[in-house]
C-alpha cells in the first residue's frame, strides 16, 4: 500500500521534473536553485542564530551575576549598618535587599551537572543561602542583644560574602574564558560553514548555468533549424527533410506542425499540378472535339452541293447533245458535268492544287459561256507548285466570289486573274478581280475565324437554302477561310486585300507545304501550329 503510494508519488515527481514544456524547462532550474540556495541560507542563519542565542544567554547570565553581586553588597552594607546603628531604615533595607537576593539566587542553577560553570553557579546559590541564614541569625542575635553571637554570625557572613564575591568573579572569568574559546571555535566553524555555503552556491550556480546553457541550446538549435527550413520553403523548395526534435516541449510541437505543413503543402502543390494537367487535357480534348465538329460541318457543307443527280443528268444531256450534233452544247454540258464530278470526288479528302485549278478552269469555262466577253480570265500558273495539297472546293468559291461580287455591276471589261507561284517555302495563290472591291467591315467579318465555329451547320444550310445570293456568297467565302485555317492550322493562310484606293479585290492564299503524315484533315494531336 505504502509502496504503491510511493511509486505514484515518484511518477508524479518524474512527470513534474520531465521537461515537457519550455516553461518547465526554464522554471525548474531556477526554482530548484532558488529553493536550494534559500534553504541553505535559511539553515545557515538558523544555525548562527542558535549560537548567537546561546552566547547572548551567557552574557545575560553574566549580567545577572553582576546584578546579584550588587544586591549582595546591599545586603552586606545594610547588615553592617543595622548591626552598628540598629536603625529601622537599615533593617527595612536589609529585608528588601535580602528578599531581592533570594529571588535572584533562585534563578541560579541548583542541579548537579558535570560542568564547571553550572557547579560554580550552584555553589554561589548555596553559599547565598548560607549567607542569608548567617545574616538573619546575626540580625536576630542583635535584636536579642547577644553581642557574642551576632559578632560570630556577622564574621561568618562576611567570610561567606567574600567567598561569594570570589566565586562570582571566578564564574565571570570562567564564563568569559569559555565564551572567548567558544567565540573562537564558532568563528572558525562559521568560516567553514560560510566557505561550504559559497562552495555550494558556486556549484549550484555552475550546474544551473550548465542547465540553462543546455536548455538554451536545446531550444535554439531546433528553432534555428526550423527557421532555415522555413526559409527554404519560402524560396519555393518543398523538398526539405523533416526536422527531428527529440525534446517534448513546444518546439517539438512546432517542429511536428512544420513537418506536417510541409507534407500537406507538397500534397497540395501536387494536387494543383494534377488539376492543371487534367484541365489542359480537357481543353485539348475539347479542341479536338471542336475540330471534329468542324470537319463534320465541312463535310456537311460539301454535302450541301449534292451533285450526283445533276452529274448523271448532265452526262445524259452531253450524250444527247452529241447525238443531236450540238457540239458546243455537248462541250458545255461536259464541262458542267466535270465540274460536278469534281465535287463528288472531293467529298472526303484533300486535293492537289492542280485538281483545284482544273476545277477552277471548268468553272470559268461555264461562267464564260454564261457571261460571254463581259469578263476576261488570265492565269499564271507555276507548274512546280501544282502538286501541293490543300482542301478541296477552295478556288471555285473564290472565283465565284470574284465573279459575283467583284464584277457584279460591271457591264464591260471585268477581269479575273489567277496566279499560283512559290513564295518562299509557301505557295502563293492569288485570285484578283478588278471590281468594286470589298468594304473593310465585310473583310473583317469574312476573316473572322470564329465564324465557322459559332455558326451551326443548320444555320448555314438554311441561309444557303434561302437563296439569298449576297449572304450565301459571304458565307461561302467565310467557309473557305475557316476550312483553310482548320486544314493548315494557321491564321495567315488567307488574306483579302481590298479597300478604297485599291483597284478590285485580291484574295491571297499562302499555302504551306504539309508533311504527308499530317494530311488527313481530322488530326486532333496536330495542334502545335499557331492559333
Amino acid at each position: 500500500m505504502k509502496a504503491v503510494f510511493f511509486g505514484s508519488w515518484i511518477r508524479k515527481l518524474k512527470h513534474f521534473v520531465t521537461p515537457n514544456s519550455l516553461f518547465k524547462r526554464l522554471l525548474i532550474p531556477y526554482l530548484l536553485t532558488g529553493i536550494l540556495v534559500g534553504a541553505s541560507t535559511v539553515y545557515n542563519i538558523l544555525s548562527i542564530n542558535i549560537i548567537v542565542d546561546r552566547l547572548n544567554a551567557t552574557y545575560e547570565s553574566n549580567a545577572a551575576i553582576f546584578d546579584l553581586v550588587l544586591t549582595l553588597g546591599e545586603v552586606q552594607t545594610n547588615t553592617e549598618s543595622y548591626l552598628s546603628t540598629k536603625s529601622s531604615t537599615a533593617l527595612e533595607n536589609f529585608y528588601r535587599a535580602s528578599d531581592s537576593l533570594k529571588e535572584k539566587a533562585v534563578l541560579l542553577n541548583d542541579q548537579v551537572y558535570d560542568a564547571q560553570p553550572l557547579l560554580l553557579e550552584r555553589n554561589i546559590r548555596r553559599m547565598i543561602e548560607s549567607y542569608n541564614a548567617e545574616t538573619q541569625s546575626a540580625i536576630q542575635a542583635k535584636r536579642g542583644r547577644d553581642i557574642a553571637a551576632y559578632t560570630d554570625h556577622y564574621n561568618k557572613s562576611t567570610q561567606i560574602y567574600e567567598y561569594i564575591i570570589m566565586y562570582a568573579d571566578q564564574l565571570n572569568q570562567n564564563r568569559f574564558e569559555s565564551n572567548y574559546s567558544q567565540y573562537r571555535v564558532m568563528g572558525h566553524l562559521l568560516d567553514q560553514i560560510q566557505l561550504l555555503d559559497i562552495l555550494i552556491l558556486a556549484l549550484i550556480l555552475g550546474i544551473n548555468f550548465g542547465i540553462v546553457l543546455l536548455t538554451a541550446l536545446r531550444i535554439t538549435k531546433p528553432v534555428a533549424q526550423l527557421a532555415q527550413r522555413a526559409g527554404l520553403v519560402a524560396e519555393g523548395n518543398l523538398d526539405v527533410a523533416p526536422i527531428d526534435v527529440d525534446s517534448h516541449d513546444e518546439v517539438h510541437t512546432l517542429a511536428k506542425a512544420f513537418n506536417a505543413m510541409i507534407i500537406s503543402l507538397r500534397a497540395y502543390v501536387s494536387q494543383i499540378r494534377d488539376n492543371l494537367i487534367r484541365e489542359t487535357y480537357q481543353k485539348e480534348h475539347e479542341l479536338v472535339m471542336e475540330n471534329l465538329l468542324q470537319v463534320a460541318q465541312l463535310k456537311n457543307l460539301q454535302a450541301q452541293i449534292n451533285p450526283h443527280f445533276l452529274f448523271n443528268a448532265l452526262n445524259t444531256g452531253a450524250q444527247m447533245a452529241m447525238l443531236e450534233g450540238a457540239d458546243r452544247t455537248s462541250e458545255f454540258v461536259e464541262h458542267v458535268a466535270d465540274f460536278y464530278r469534281y465535287n463528288i470526288k472531293l467529298f472526303d479528302r484533300d486535293v492537289t492544287l492542280r485538281e483545284e485549278i482544273q476545277m477552277a478552269k471548268d468553272y470559268i469555262y461555264i461562267q464564260k459561256v454564261r457571261f460571254g466577253d463581259r469578263i476576261t480570265y488570265n492565269e499564271s500558273i507555276d507548274p512546280d507548285c501544282l502538286s501541293i495539297r490543300m482542301p478541296g472546293l477552295v478556288l471555285q468559291p473564290l472565283l465565284e466570289n470574284a465573279l459575283n461580287h467583284g464584277l457584279k455591276d460591271m457591264e464591260q471589261g471585268g477581269q479575273v486573274d489567277l496566279v499560283a507561284q512559290w513564295k518562299g517555302d509557301r505557295v502563293e495563290v492569288l485570285v484578283h478581280d478588278n471590281g468594286q472591291g470589298m468594304d473593310p467591315e465585310k473583310i473583317r467579318q469574312t476573316l473572322d475565324a470564329k465564324f465557322m465555329a459559332t455558326a451551326s451547320p443548320g444555320q448555314l444550310a438554311s441561309e444557303t437554302a434561302e437563296g439569298q445570293p449576297g449572304t450565301g456568297a459571304g458565307i461561302a467565302l467565310s467557309n473557305v477561310v475557316a476550312r483553310l485555317r482548320l486544314f493548315f492550322h494557321c491564321e495567315d493562310v488567307i488574306d483579302i486585300i481590298s479597300g478604297p484606293g485599291i483597284a478590285g479585290t485580291t484574295i491571297r492564299l499562302s499555302l504551306p507545304v504539309l508533311a504527308e503524315a499530317s494530311l488527313p484533315a481530322p488530326a486532333p494531336a496536330e495542334t502545335t501550329g499557331e492559333n
Binding site: V17, T18, P19, R25, P29, L32, T33, L36, A39, S40, Y43, N44, S47, I50, I51, R54, L55, Q111, V112, Y113, D114, A115, Q116, P117, L118, L119, R122, N123, I124, R126, M127, E129, S130, Y131, Q159, I160, Y163, M166, Y167, S178, Q182, V185, M186, L189, L190, Q192, I193, L196, D197, L199, I200, L203, I204, I207, N208, G210, I211, L214, T215, D246
Partner: protein, 345 residues
C-alpha cells in the same frame, strides 16, 4: 564495434536524460551539502555545549588540590572523576593554581559554606587545614584527606601512602645492595608545615637502616620559606661533603631535580645515587639516563579514585574505613620505559 555501440547508446542516453541527470545531481549535491552543513553545525553546537551530559548527578563532591594544574593532581582528578561516574556523583576540582597553603583551607571553608556533599582535600598547612576540616565536618560535610594526612582533624578517612612504609622502602633501596657510606635525607626545617609525615618516613628509614652499622643516616633540613633555599642547601651540602655521601633521598619532585642538577654541576653523578619520592616527566627522563637511581611513587589515579569512593561510602553507609592505603611503586631504569609511555598518553 560493441564498444562504439555502447558509446553511441551512452551518448543517446545522456542526450535524452541529461536534463534529468542535472536536476538529480543538483538535488544530490544539495543533500550532501546540507548533510555536511548539519555535521558542521552539530560540531559547532557540541563545541559550545556547556553540558557534557544532561543527566543530573546525585552528589556534588569537591577535590581540593595542592596545585590544580600539576600533572600529579590532574591524575588524581582523573581517578576522582572515574570514581564519581561510578557512584553517580560530580566532582569539582578546586584549589590554587600554584602552591598556596591558606587557599587550600579556604577552599574547604567555601565548600562547607556551599554545603556540598563531600570534600576530598590535600593537607598543605596542617593547622589551617585541620581547622577548616573540623568546621566542615561540624556542618555535616564528610571530609577525606588524601596524600598527606591531617591526623588530628575530624576527617573521616585518609587515603594515601603509609609514610613509615615509605621510609622502609627507601631503606631497602639504599641499603640492600651496598650497605656502606653516608645517606642524606632532605627534610623540612619545620616539620609542622611539612605536607608529608616526614617524621614517620625518617622513622621507617632509621628502623630499616639500623641493621646496617656501616651506614650512617643524616638529614638535611631545608627552609621552606623561600623557593630557592632548597637549592642553596643542597649545593652547600655538596661543597662541605668529604666525598662520603653515597646517596641522597629527596621527598618531593622539586628537590629531586635540584639534587640531580647540583650533582651534574659538581660532576659527582657517578658516585652519588639519587632517590626521590613521586615523579614527573623530567624525573622519569633522569631515571632513564641513569642520573636518578630510583623514585618511589604513589598512584595518584588510585588515590583520587579511592577518595571519591570513600566519600560516596560515607554518604550511603554513613561510615568508612579510617585509612585507605595507597600502593607504592618503585620506578627505576628497569621499568621506567612503561611509565614514560604511560605518561605521554
Amino acid at each position: 564495434m560493441d564498444r562504439r555501440n555502447l558509446a553511441i547508446r551512452l551518448r543517446a542516453f545522456l542526450a535524452r536524460h541529461l536534463y534529468l541527470l542535472a536536476v538529480l545531481s543538483i538535488l544530490l549535491l544539495s543533500l550532501l551539502a546540507l548533510l555536511a552543513m548539519n555535521a558542521l553545525r552539530q560540531r559547532l553546537l557540541d563545541q559550545t555545549q556547556i553540558l557534557a551530559t544532561d543527566r543530573e548527578a546525585r552528589y556534588h563532591f569537591i577535590l581540593v588540590a595542592e596545585q590544580t594544574d600539576s600533572p600529579y593532581w590532574q591524575e588524581v582528578y582523573a581517578g576522582a572523576r572515574a570514581a564519581a561516574a561510578e557512584v553517580d556523583a560530580v566532582v569539582e576540582l578546586t584549589g590554587p593554581k600554584s602552591f598556596s597553603s591558606d587557599q587550600t583551607a579556604e577552599q574547604i571553608l567555601i565548600a562547607s559554606a556551599a554545603r556540598l556533599d563531600g570534600i576530598a582535600t590535600c593537607v598543605v598547612d596542617t593547622d589551617l587545614t585541620t581547622q577548616a576540616i573540623n568546621q566542615a565536618v561540624k556542618a555535616e560535610i564528610p571530609v577525606v584527606t588524601l596524600e598527606y594526612d591531617a591526623a588530628e582533624s575530624l576527617r573521616q578517612c585518609f587515603v594515601g601512602v603509609n609514610s613509615y612504609d615509605l621510609g622502609q622502602t627507601f631503606g631497602r633501596l639504599v641499603a640492600d645492595e651496598n650497605p656502606i657510606g653516608e645517606i642524606i635525607i632532605l627534610v623540612s626545617e619545620d616539620p609542622e608545615r611539612a605536607s608529608l609525615s616526614e617524621n614517620q618516613i625518617v622513622a621507617g628509614l632509621q628502623d630499616y637502616l639500623a641493621r646496617f652499622p656501616s651506614l650512617t643516616l643524616n638529614s638535611l633540613e631545608i627552609n621552606r620559606d623561600s623557593a630557592f633555599s632548597a637549592e642553596q642547601a643542597i649545593r652547600d651540602l655538596l661543597v662541605k661533603d668529604q666525598q662520603t655521601v653515597r646517596a641522597i633521598i629527596s621527598l618531593n619532585v622539586g628537590d629531586t631535580l635540584r639534587v640531580v642538577e647540583a650533582l651534574v654541576d659538581d660532576g659527582r653523578t657517578s658516585t652519588v645515587s639519587v632517590l626521590g619520592y613521586q615523579e614527573n616527566p623530567d624525573v622519569l627522563e633522569y631515571i632513564q639516563s641513569g642520573l636518578i637511581q630510583a623514585v618511589i611513587a604513589s598512584d595518584p589515579y588510585q588515590i583520587g579514585y579511592d577518595s571519591i569512593q570513600a566519600l560516596a561510602e560515607i554518604k550511603t553507609n554513613n561510615r568508612t574505613s579510617d585509612y585507605i592505603p595507597s600502593d607504592l611503586v618503585t620506578i627505576d631504569a628497569d621499568n621506567v620505559a612503561t611509565y614514560l609511555r604511560g605518561d605521554s598518553q
